[in-house]
Amino acid sequence: MIYRSLFPRDFLSELERLQNEVRQGFDISPSIRGFTRGGFPALNIGSTGKSVEIYAFAPGVDPASIDVQLEKGVLTVAGERKSALPPAEAKATTHIDERFAGRFRRVVTLPDDIDPSAVAARYRDGVLHISIQRRETTQPRRINIQ
């Protein structure tokens, strides 16, 4: 798998990542959506008993232009980031060109117990934070023994 990581780490962690990837490559049943690590925006996902929290690291994107959709338990984050590079005819030289530019789309499968009507999305400091509540009926309950 050849790609350029958005946020490369130091050499030792790179080795560790490589090891993980080799291991995943031998996995007999990998996810149908593949390993999208290294895509834009980078995603961090966490969960609490009451909600699922998704952080999409999309710096420099107009929040109004980000399209977030939730359909049948699949969350899609799509949009476009414009390039900061000068046009070809400009009298400027590009020395380093690492930042992502262009259209992006990332898809996440969510747990079954989420409530599609209780979604909140906020954009701050270049991070889109999507919080989805879990349905109350499925939240763990303590059962009293009589």
């Binding site: 958005l6 946020f7 962690s13 609490t48 710096p59 420099g60 020395h95 991070v127």
Partner: protein, 126 residues
Amino acid sequence: MSETTAVSKESTAPREEAALVPPVDVIEDSGGITLYADLPGVPKDKLNLHVDSGTLTIEGELGLEMPEAMESTHAEVSLPRYRRTFTLSRELDADKVTAEFADGVLKLRIPKAEHALPRKIEISVA
């Protein structure tokens, strides 16, 4: 403007905490250099820019709001900090660096020193 190697960084600085390397764009025109760096999740007060004897260091710490009981299930941004160091060449005026930071994107403008600005040389006809 070139990146310092990991080896020279280790020999000069005390042991630093592990950090992610933010992606950058570096563009040079006749007046100077413009640098864009992606530092998503870094609030303005946790961004640190440092110019010291020809070395530019960009450092930022993540300040995400997370629910207390949250358990991480998948993390692509796996460290809470970004760091990247560049060596500035002599014709750049490190005293006149200007910076803008919005929506996780840092824009730095490093102008060239007066004496290094390009000049058109007049050709006199004899």
